[in-house]
Amino acid sequence: MPRYDMFLVLKSMQRPETAATLRRIVENLFEHGAMVRSMENLGERRLPYAISKHGSRHKHGGYFAIDFYSSPTILKNVLDNLERDIDVLRPTIVKNNTERPPKQCHGVHEKDPWKIN
């Protein structure tokens, strides 16, 4: 299964509410059959610009990152749910390519595709 990173900007709330939101999101992922690898808190900080979402304007938010494995077919659904969630200001799902080794650089001279060896 491919590996994805979900980066969330949550509304700045009290701790139990944030916990509840995160719990809700992860359970949603479990429902769709994902395997959650880890969760990281990147801090509650001032947003670089004001974000208007779900009828209100926010200047602070909590940044979270969730690492998970899942089938690519569920991503649309998950993203839809996150967009509808009023506590989530900005959901992003991105592919994680760290497990693949980087391609070897052959330099400026490319390999001749018609040459054997």
């Binding site: 916990a19 719990r23 969760m39 990281e40 808190n41 509650e44 900080r45």
Partner: protein
């Protein structure tokens, strides 16, 4: 004389084809029997040709002699010619020739076969070398491929083992709460500063 000839001709034709509807008259000239004499021929006196019995006799004798000679010579020549032709085709010389030709042909064919055999040997050697080289190369390639496959499989197995280890740390329904608490307690920052000497500072002003 011509007329006589023509008459006899006509008679002959009649005899040959008595029942023919159309009689073919082989008469020369345009005039018929009843046409008048031509003006240019009005003074013509018909003179019989020269004939002398003695001369005729002598001529006949000489002519017959002459004819005899000429015939003899002609026959001699034709005989020679026919003989030569026969010699060419079926005489002893011809046999010799035929035999020689056959011999030559056989010799040439034998030489040709020998050459072919030689070439064949050379060609087969060459082909054998080529096929051997190909087989060797193929075997080497197969070995190489196998080795590569083994390496690949080993790598993947390593990855699998690694993943199996990491699975123990995944978030599940049971440890979800704990993990959330843990995450909320430990905010992580990936920010760092680096200067021209390459020194990295991980502690930054945190908002």
């Amino acid at each position: 004389m011509l007329r006589a000839l023509s008459k006899s001709h006509a008679a002959a034709v009649r005899i040959l084809a008595p029942r023919a509807a159309v009689l073919v008259e082989t008469v020369r000239g345009r005039k018929s029997r009843f046409d008048p004499k031509a003006k240019s021929k009005a003074d013509r006196i018909k003179v019989p040709s020269y004939s002398n019995a003695k001369d005729m006799f002598r001529l006949n004798v000489r002519f017959s002699e002459y004819q005899l000679l000429v015939r003899a010579i002609r026959f001699m020549f034709t005989e020679k010619r026919k003989k030569r032709k026969y010699e060419e085709e079926k005489g002893t010389l011809a046999e010799e020739r035929v035999r020689k030709e056959k011999e030559e042909h056989r010799a040439l064919m034998a030489w040709n076969d020998a050459e072919n055999l030689k070439q064949r040997i050379i060609r087969e050697e060459r082909l054998k070398k080529i096929t051997e080289a190909k087989e060797l190369k193929l075997r080497e390639e197969v070995l190489l491929h196998q080795k590569e496959q083994e390496i690949y499989i080993k790598e993947k197995e390593m990855l699998i083992l690694q993943l199996q280890e990491e699975v123990k740390n995944f978030i599940t329904q049971q440890n979800l709460d704990e993990r959330i608490e843990e995450a909320l307690n430990n905010p992580k920052s990936y920010n760092y500063a680096i200067d021209k000497t390459g020194q990295i500072t991980k502690r930054t002003a945190f908002q």
